[in-house]
């Protein structure tokens, strides 16, 4: 029998038992739909994480102080191992770093007239904005001169502006007070919204690091050093270089641990992508299980179908059907069930990812590869689980099959 007739035959057999065919497909439908939905959510969040990381500067390096005294663990802010001398040394000797900025920050209350707000002030150099990929929507950045003179100027994040200034009021040129120190607002940062970790990235004040260190903190230590590697790919080289330079300036012996920690965005990206990788593996496992269950459902119903139609098989054989004709008849029926289930599953999966995107506002990305993969897996499931029942049918003895009650 030719393929067209075989497909027509299989289609009609399914048509006759619509409900049964649908129930058989259900496993496949649910499996495929959930895989496509979850993959689109996974892919969507992966892409949104990636864009937000690159908006934070994918070549960013953070150096933090840490304890190298065995047995004594202290919170990072209590360790004073980083100084401006380190920044100077790195600026002079490091080749894989383009820009660098110290960071001294302090939490406290900021007051403007009758309004006040609890926030963080970050003392940094003008390059800090470039490293963090921050930009101004209004005003100007403080200058090297301001740094040298510990000028009482600052830049405000949008959240701080919203909490200290009335709507329509222009903050530029106004004086605010942070821990009683008056600071003149000279610029406003472009809003970056929430970070992936739920932090409000607009709830900051940025001032020259000298201002924060001398006037607010009264310290000679800094908390962090921010730097940009020449590129994301060269982050590792930059890290090694920083390590060598800092160990030298800190006079750390070869058998001693570092008294600082280096964190890179590249590291974070690696970590996040391994998380997404794990999620993909997990999803694949779920998909595999649901398709196996769906496949077993198909196998089961095909066995029932073969038994039910034993006489029909006997008749077909007696009028000239070969074993392979019978095999193909049932195999194609099984494949048709699984592929129809797959199509319905894809439609359902795509529409539910669209619903997730529009109702829950989650970023979803429907990848063609997930759809194509689902189809291939469905067809394979049909062949794999349909083969044994079909083979059983094809091996029936025509005389016995005709006599079957």
């Amino acid at each position: 029998m030719n393929l067209v007739n075989l497909i027509r035959l299989a289609w009609r057999a399914l048509h006759r038992n619509k409900l049964r065919a649908f129930l058989t497909m259900l496993g496949i439908i649910i499996g495929v739909a959930s895989v496509i939905t979850m993959m689109s959510i996974g892919e969507g969040s992966k892409q949104s994480i990636q864009t937000s990381i690159s908006s934070m500067g994918s070549n960013m390096i953070t150096i933090m102080p840490s304890s190298n005294t065995p047995g004594v663990q202290m919170a990072g802010s209590n360790i004073h191992s980083l100084t401006l001398a380190d920044v100077k040394a790195l600026k002079k000797d490091a080749n894989y770093i383009t820009t660098i900025s110290p960071l001294a920050s302090s939490n406290g209350q900021v007051i403007k007239g009758a309004l006040n707000w609890s926030t963080t002030i970050q003392g940094a150099s003008p390059e800090y904005l470039e490293i963090r990929k921050l930009s101004l929507k209004d005003g100007i950045v403080f200058s090297e001169n301001d740094v040298r003179s510990s000028a009482k100027v600052c830049l405000l994040g949008q959240t701080v502006v919203d909490n200290l200034f009335a709507k329509g009021e222009d903050p530029i040129g106004k004086i605010i007070r942070f821990k009683k120190i008056p600071l003149q607002v000279i610029g406003i940062l472009v809003s970056k919204g929430q970070s992936n970790f739920g932090q409000d990235q607009d709830d900051i004040i940025i001032a020259p690091y000298t201002t924060v260190m001398k006037r607010i903190l009264a310290t000679t230590y800094i908390q962090d050093i921010y730097a940009s590697a020449t590129s994301e790919a060269e982050t590792d080289k930059a890290t090694d270089e920083i390590k060598t330079i800092l160990r030298e300036t800190h006079k750390i012996r070869a058998d001693q641990d570092d008294d600082f920690t280096i964190r890179t965005m590249a590291e974070l990206i690696k970590m996040l992508s391994s998380t997404t990788g794990m999620m993909t593996t997990l999803l694949t496992a779920v998909a595999g299980i649901s398709l196996v269950i769906g496949g077993i459902g198909i196998m089961n119903i095909m066995y029932v179908s073969v038994t039910e139609r034993t006489r029909e098989i006997g008749l077909r054989m007696s009028i000239g059907a070969r074993g392979v004709d019978i095999l193909m008849q049932f195999l194609i029926e099984a494949i048709l069930i699984s592929i129809t289930g797959g199509v319905i599953g894809v439609v359902l999966g795509v529409s539910s990812s669209l619903i997730v995107a529009s109702v829950l506002n989650w970023p979803t990305v429907i990848s063609e590869s997930s759809i194509i993969l689902s189809f291939i897996v469905c067809a394979f499931t049909g062949v794999f689980f349909g083969y044994y029942p079909a083979q059983k049918a094809s091996l029936l003895d025509p005389i016995e099959a005709l006599r079957y009650e």
């Binding site: 006997g314 054989m317 007696s318 000239g320 070969r322 074993g323 005389i399």
Partner: protein, 249 residues
């Protein structure tokens, strides 16, 4: 044209049932010429169905020679046997064996679907023609459950005819039918035999059915008991005329 269509020599068929062996056919020899209308008779269990299954290439003999249309069947593979069934043989069963919920026309088309040399158009034409020859062309869209037993058997005969076989095999094809309808079927068989020259092998229990054929073989306990030529077969059409008219036919 006295060509032998069936040539059977010392045919044996044994069934192994665990340790026991059932000898259904114990060495049968006969031959059939083209255009004969043969009936096979015999009591229950005498081996008629076993014989017919072998003649129809559904089963192979344990021993002996069976030549159909000059070809030694025992040497053929399973697929070759299927091909033989498809092109040389038309089966008619006691239980009709039509596909349920499938129209008469499609039931008749079925054997041609397994013959890839025949296209859709020719298939339909030949099926219609076969239905016409059993006088059911007007019922081609009816499904089996919309047809009487006699009509279903006529659809089954059309299905047996559609591939233009060299012979028609019938196993108690009138076994489920009343006398009048049986006579109608026999009339059809006689017509196919006399007009179209089809060779027919017809298994039956009933002597009055056998009377319509030109030759009767009687089996007994797996052996050929009698082989009689009926030089003056009864006409089923005339026999039908003795029945009161009904409007079923």
């Amino acid at each position: 044209m006295d060509t032998k269509i069936l040539d059977i020599y010392d045919l044996k068929r044994e069934f192994k049932m665990g340790t026991e062996t059932v000898r259904a056919l114990k060495g049968i020899t006969f031959d059939v010429s083209t255009g004969e209308f043969l009936t096979i008779m015999g009591s229950s269990g005498s081996g008629k169905t076993t014989m017919l299954n072998i003649l129809g290439c559904l089963d192979k003999p344990t021993d002996g020679i069976y030549k159909l249309d000059g070809v030694d069947i025992t040497t053929l593979s399973k697929d070759e046997l299927a091909r033989f069934r498809n092109t040389k043989i038309g089966f008619v069963f006691q239980a009709y064996n039509l596909l349920p919920r499938t129209s008469a026309l499609e039931n008749v088309e079925l054997p041609l679907l397994y013959n890839n040399t025949i296209g859709a158009k020719e298939r339909r034409e030949r099926a219609l023609h076969a239905l016409e020859s059993v006088k059911l062309a007007d019922r081609m869209d009816h499904t089996p459950n919309q047809l009487s037993g006699g009509q279903q058997q006529r659809v089954a005969i059309a299905r047996a005819l559609v591939n233009e076989p060299v012979m028609i095999l019938a196993d108690e094809a009138t076994g489920n039918l009343d006398t009048r309808t049986s006579y109608e079927i026999m009339s059809l068989m006689q017509e196919l035999n006399q007009k179209d020259g089809k060779t027919i092998v017809f298994v039956t229990h009933e002597p009055d059915i056998a009377a319509f054929s030109s030759r009767t073989i009687t089996l007994r306990d797996g052996r050929l008991q009698r082989d009689t030529i009926n030089s003056n077969p009864r006409s089923a059409r005339e026999a039908l005329a003795t029945f009161p008219e009904t409007d079923d036919y």
